[in-house]
Symmetry: C3
Subunit: 217 residues, 3 copies
């Protein structure tokens, strides 16, 4: 996440918020599944940092960015500590967490796309890696927690689709050398807005087309 | 998959067929599990491209081959689109899909082995990476779909074993500098033939040895 | 695992023991889940070699160490062969296996930490990669076998915590240039001793704090 979507200070703040809320969501899943403290930290870390680590491994930027940014590496530990004691409170504030998570999704996806572009990838692979940065951590969380991944469920409001919209816009702009920082901010707002609208109005993605649902299932 | 098992044009055709049928198999699992459209695309992509991506990451060939071949990256999207509308038809033609899948397994495994050999790996690691190329995508598909991996099930006809047979033959020949393209074709046919025979005659691999099954289980 | 915790010959012996016992544990899980021979080999290999491979991929040391050490690559095959025939005997000697596994955990973790230090990583990332080396294979085993990972379960004696203790000690010492081989041996003994104590006295890690367990769960 070394490209600048936002001015440096704002960028860093957003990164911290994204990592923290993703870590909260991982830790909360661990609490609901009654995992021990190690499980809480593992899920917090995987959720918060997994997407970016996968992206960095795929573009060959090893060791991954987060390994040289100890401050980001500490955030999941802090989030785990908070969740261990405050999980009933966070459970009540579930809606607020979803808004922060949407912010994390938006910043991670656009940042990831720009990093992939900077690594000389084509439009489609760059957008793909942006999406992976945004949704990869949550997928790892669900696989380790043995839940049907939210990413693929019909009853979960759309998540990867707003990410894909923003990632494609930014990847195309960057490939045509028209990208400017304010567009990144616009794309972040776009992803965030679609995700929040999906949560507000209950937008789910459809599954396969079935002529007569009752019979063909 | 930049080494030549077949003449260039044939090679490319086989790659497309392999990626497409693997993507179909992933998308069909998603439909059966009633995932949404995102889940269909995710499983199609993981199944079709996962094995090759793991291989490339392990040999340090990043970004992976497929990231610079947008045509291959688009294939899982096309397969997903087909499955969304034509899944009842594909379900009926299950046997045909298994034959195409066997072709994909054969080409991916032998190609993967040759790529690993070209990366200066020893016989056993090269064969291992060939097998990973062939079976890795299916393993990721089953893990994300939360199914017992076909790869490890007693009631699934042998899959990794024909791949291993072909991979070892090619890895040994290549290590002894005796490899020629027609041998690659032969190995692909070998893997394909064993797999088809397994499907036809119901060959399953045994599990652990149990003296008195009824008691020791 | 190319740094020297122990004199070369002892180091190599420990590595073999660690790989072998980790492979046994993977193969035994496969037998209990009634997987076929491919499943036994896959779980043996993932458990024994997965942690080190993930570490090497993360620090960019590709192809991973084990791919150029065919002797280590063969060990899971040998362990699988042993388990196929001797699994009832191993089941009876479960306690002994846990002790060997604790030795593997200790050696892998400390070795992994030193390798990460040698790759110029900071204290916390180096300790993290040491822990990943020690526990990563078991996590992969449980994900593929579709079991709730031992790593995160409340009823499993602490496993990652002794690893973390040893990894942090070694990472701090190495970062301050005070590391000497006997300290590595000490750290291995420390990890091993805590793990064995946990097994002996039934030390489990707690989960999230719950004021009134009966109501808040």
């Amino acid at each position: 996440m070394d490209t600048a979507v936002f001015p440096d200070q704002a960028e860093y703040t957003f990164e911290l918020v994204g990592v923290f809320t993703f870590a909260l969501s991982g830790a909360m899943v661990a609490v609901r599944r009654d995992f021990d403290i190690v499980g809480i930290v593992v899920l917090a870390g995987l959720t918060a940092l997994g997407g970016g680590v996968i992206r960095d491994v795929l573009i060959g930027a090893t060791p991954p960015y987060v390994f040289s940014h100890v401050d980001l590496l500490v955030v999941p530990l802090v989030a785990s500590f908070v969740v261990v004691f405050a999980h009933p409170l966070i459970e009540q504030r579930g809606q607020a967490i979803l808004w922060f998570d949407a912010a994390g999704l938006a910043v991670f996806t656009i940042n990831g796309t720009l990093i992939a572009e900077a690594a000389e990838l084509d439009v489609l692979p760059a957008a793909l890696l942006g999406i992976v940065t945004g949704v990869g951590g949550g997928l790892l969380r669900d696989v380790v927690a043995r839940e049907v991944p939210l990413l693929v469920r019909k009853d979960s409001e759309i998540y990867a689709i707003p990410a894909a919209a923003g990632a494609v816009v930014v990847a195309v702009l960057a490939a045509e050398d028209r990208y400017e920082p304010w567009m990144g901010i616009g794309a972040v707002v776009l992803v965030f807005a679609i995700r929040i609208a999906a949560l507000t109005f209950g937008w789910n993605a459809p599954g396969a087309f079935r002529r007569r649902p009752a019979r063909s299932t």
